[in-house]
């Protein structure tokens, strides 16, 4: 077994500290580590000199809150033996690697495109599906243009009658080249770009970006700024969970839920407007701190809104989770088992709904969560009910956390620290727990402090496969409900 560098979330380290392994060794170690219960956070390649490709793997060891980093070079013959066959959670990472660098993971089951990258290597593969030989299932194609509120994504439902056998999910329609854009221009000015990765995960992505820049330039934030970010992150979580519950209610035609959760979500994002000047939290988190502080007026306002949300969600939750009609739709629909979560490498809310407490706030703590120990909530049934219930419970939890922080009275210090030049030849990995789950950014700087490589992994990148697994065996008409309960982002995946 090769050497692996032990790093921490949001702690920069020098590139020369990263051990360089042989690709076969890296692959062997990866499979071993994943088998031991570590999770893959990043696995990507970047083009080096003379056609060589450097492959970087970052694993999360949740037992001692650390990250393991290692690299390998591939020269001349751009291929290696695919690990996906042994560790299924790597399937999408290997596809992405192939698409972006041309390195062929041999014996990968299906190297179809991840996104519609121009000049992609993978395009030819899309018509070579490995699993359509199941006796000619009936296909229902859904998307990429879907109903008003949904993002673009194509779902090929392989069905037998009304029963779904599997879903081939094809994304990439919203690919904007985010990672490429990071490598141009001033790295300090990328906040607007990072806030556009996924419009519903603004705070989480902006924080992951800002935290990476701060780690590279060695700034320590004031308590006040950290607190503001945490409050905004939890507000975002509350708002988006409410949105998802509203969607689930609408999906089964439960009108009181659809309207009440929708109304409460508006109240919450309106308080985000007071906080940051934007209902979606844009323009709050910047490298060095936050752009606006919170006065006592805003604090009172947020607390008041949360009181309303707390009071009203209690009533509507009791109605939703107490109604037999609702429960008959939610319970037992789209079940995911903990074993499948490990196998497919699912994280965040989906893992928590099967009883696995995967939460970066606890496993890879950052910001306020480093001092303020956080315990994730879990629900064990893994069905649509669990995914709805965990959201309702997390709303309660986040409200409690925000109340607690606002009563700490630690709102002192500067909003912004002056950012300095980024450290040259360094790397940093940051993980932030967005409302879906972990959001991870990795930055590698060159010799002149420029950003040499920027990598973004959104929660949805890990979790889309979970939807395909959950949908196996359910009725076609239950699929949209299942999809709603996952609440995945297409643009977060597509970058």
């Amino acid at each position: 077994m090769g050497k692996w560098l032990t790093a921490k979330n949001a702690r920069a380290f020098h590139r020369r500290e990263i051990p360089l392994l042989h690709m076969d060794e890296l692959a062997k170690d990866l499979v071993r580590f994943l088998g031991e219960g570590l999770r893959v956070v990043h696995f990507y390649g970047r083009a080096g000199v003379e056609g060589a490709v450097t492959i970087t793997a970052v694993l999360a060891d949740d037992t001692d809150c650390s990250l393991l980093v290692s690299e390998a070079h591939i020269k001349s013959v751009l291929k290696y033996t695919s690990m996906t066959v042994k560790e299924h959670s790597l399937h999408l990472f290997e596809r992405e690697l192939y698409e972006q660098t041309g390195v062929v993971p041999e014996r990968h089951p299906w190297l179809k495109p991840v996104r519609s990258e121009p000049g992609s290597h993978a395009v030819v593969q899309i018509n070579k599906p490995p699993l359509y030989s199941t006796g000619g299932p009936h296909e229902v194609s859904w998307g990429p243009v879907r109903s008003v509120t949904a993002e673009s994504g194509h779902f090929r439902l392989l069905c037998r009658g009304e029963e779904i056998l599997h879903i081939a999910i094809q994304l990439g329609y919203q690919h904007r080249g985010v990672e490429r854009l990071f490598r141009t221009g001033n790295p300090m000015n990328k906040a607007s770009l990072v806030e556009s990765i996924a419009g519903d995960t603004v705070i989480a992505h902006a924080w992951a970006y800002a935290m990476a820049i701060e780690a590279l330039s060695g700034i320590t934030l004031s308590k006040k700024a950290e607190m503001m970010r945490s409050v905004a992150l939890e507000l975002e979580r509350i708002a988006m969970h409410l949105e998802c519950l509203s969607g689930i209610s609408a999906g089964i035609g439960f009108l009181p839920g659809a309207s009440t959760y929708g109304r409460l979500r508006t109240a919450v994002i309106d308080s985000m407007l007071r906080l940051s000047g934007c209902r979606f939290g844009r323009g709050l988190v910047r490298p060095g701190g936050v752009l606006s502080g919170v006065g006592s007026g805003v604090r009172e306002h947020v607390l008041r809104v949360l009181d309303v949300v707390d009071h009203d969600t209690e009533i509507i939750n009791a109605y939703l989770f107490g109604s037999t009609g609702v429960l008959s739709r939610l319970e037992g629909t789209g079940v995911i088992t903990p074993a499948q979560v490990w196998e497919a490498g699912l994280v965040g809310i989906i893992a928590k709904s099967t009883g696995l407490p995967l939460d970066s706030r606890a496993d890879q703590p950052f910001g306020v969560y480093e001092k303020d120990h956080f315990t994730p909530i879990t629900v064990s049934s893994g069905d649509v009910y669990a995914r709805a219930k965990i959201r309702a419970l997390e709303i309660e939890q986040s409200i409690k956390i925000i109340r607690k922080w606002f009563h700490y009275g630690m709102m002192i210090g500067e909003n912004m620290m002056e950012p300095t030049l980024l450290g040259a030849g360094q790397m940093v990995v940051t993980m932030v727990e967005g409302f879906r789950g972990e959001v991870s950014h990795a930055i590698i700087t060159g010799h002149n402090s420029e950003i040499e490589y920027y990598k973004v992994v959104d929660t949805s990148f890990h979790n889309w496969m979970g939807l395909a697994l959950a949908a196996r065996g359910i009725g076609i008409s239950d699929f949209p409900l299942c999809n709603e309960s996952f609440g995945q982002s297409c643009c977060g995946h597509d970058l």
Binding site: V140, S147, G251, G253, L255, G325, I476, S477, F479, P480
Partner: protein, 338 residues
């Protein structure tokens, strides 16, 4: 003159169709805490669609173009045999309830063909669901009409309804006369007594339940189908018309609204037979008819608001429930006769 009156009642039913569609949405909005669109919005929508152009997919044949017109025509023709507001129908002949059911089925047949004609896998899926559920629903309607036909000894909807009304009315008048008292409570008490004497109360109540279930299934209302759903995969009726636009869509909208009014008229006719004495005049009858139709619409809106969409695999049980209610009434009646 009789025909002119019948036709004017027929047009009242068409007007009620739009009003009912609006009222349903209004009730749902109220329940969700919103104001909702104006009551006449369905009419505005049809007007809007009529003025639009329409897009026709290159893969479709003439069937797709003809389907909406045939569906609308079938619904409008089926309405001709319905007695509206106590008066006779525009057309009535013996066995016209069979005409009613199968003219509607013809319309559905073409709607299904139109959906399949597009070659869209989603529309085919919707068509398959629609056909399954309506096939399960068909026995319920016939058993109910058969029961009423057995009760009255007649086979035309108009005759069955007027006979049912007169059966109750005689007994009400007789019983009020014999007690010699008046007042609303006495009236209701006597009416209930009269209903039980006439032997119509249970069959009519059950028929109304079955017909209400028919409305829900046939017009794609909750808990069977959700008209507000936006995911094609869950829909039954909504997904069958994905390719229709402009005037074709307007016709489909009118046909849908009309279907509620048709079944609503059947419910209203039976209910009026129970509660309205035959000596109430024609104009007042029409007011009562309109009023009960609106109550039916409000009831559908209420059911839509308080129920949650059923899992699709459970829908057949619900639909078969209607047939079993109908069968129970029929067998009870046959046992009573023997």
């Amino acid at each position: 003159m009789v025909l002119a009156l019948a036709l004017s009642r027929y047009f009242l039913m068409i007007a009620m169709a739009f009003l009912m569609a609006g009222v349903i949405v209004k009730v749902k909005s109220f329940w969700a805490g919103r104001y909702g669109p104006p009551v006449l919005q369905p009419l505005y929508d049809v007007w809007k669609l009529l003025r639009k152009g329409h897009v026709v997919s290159g893969t479709t044949s003439a069937v797709f173009g003809a389907a909406p017109s045939i569906t609308l025509a079938s619904v409008l023709s089926a309405g001709l045999v319905l007695p509206i507001g106590g008066g006779p129908a525009v057309l009535h002949f013996s066995g016209d309830f069979v005409f009613f059911a199968y003219v509607l089925a013809l319309g559905r047949f073409f709607a299904v063909l139109g959906a399949m004609d597009t070659g869209n896998s989603l529309e085919g899926m919707g068509a398959s669901r629609d056909v399954t559920f309506s096939a399960l629903l068909e026995p319920a309607f016939f058993v109910i009409m058969g029961t009423l036909s057995m009760l009255t000894g007649l086979t035309s909807i108009t005759e069955i309804y007027s006979m049912a009304a007169s059966m109750v009315d005689f007994t009400i008048l007789a019983s009020i006369h014999s007690t010699g008292s008046s007042g609303a409570m006495t009236y209701i008490a006597e009416a209930v007594k009269a209903w039980s004497y006439s032997g119509l109360f249970v069959p009519v109540l059950c028929s109304n339940i079955v017909l209400m279930i028919s409305i829900i299934v046939d017009t794609g209302r909750m808990p069977v189908d959700d008209t507000a759903a936006h995911d094609e995969l869950t829909m039954i009726h909504g997904v069958m018309v994905l390719d229709n636009s402009g005037p074709d869509m307007a016709m489909i909208n009118v046909a849908r609204a009309m279907k509620i009014a048709l079944m609503g008229t059947l419910v209203t006719g039976l209910t009026m037979g129970l509660v309205v004495p035959t000596w109430v005049s024609g104009a007042l009858c029409l007011v009562i008819y309109a009023f009960i139709m609106l109550i039916v619409a409000a009831a559908i809106g209420l059911i839509e608001s308080v129920t949650v969409r059923m899992r699709l695999s459970r829908v057949p049980q619900f639909v078969l429930g209607a047939s079993s209610i109908a069968l129970i009434v029929l067998s009870a009646l046959m046992i009573g006769r023997s």
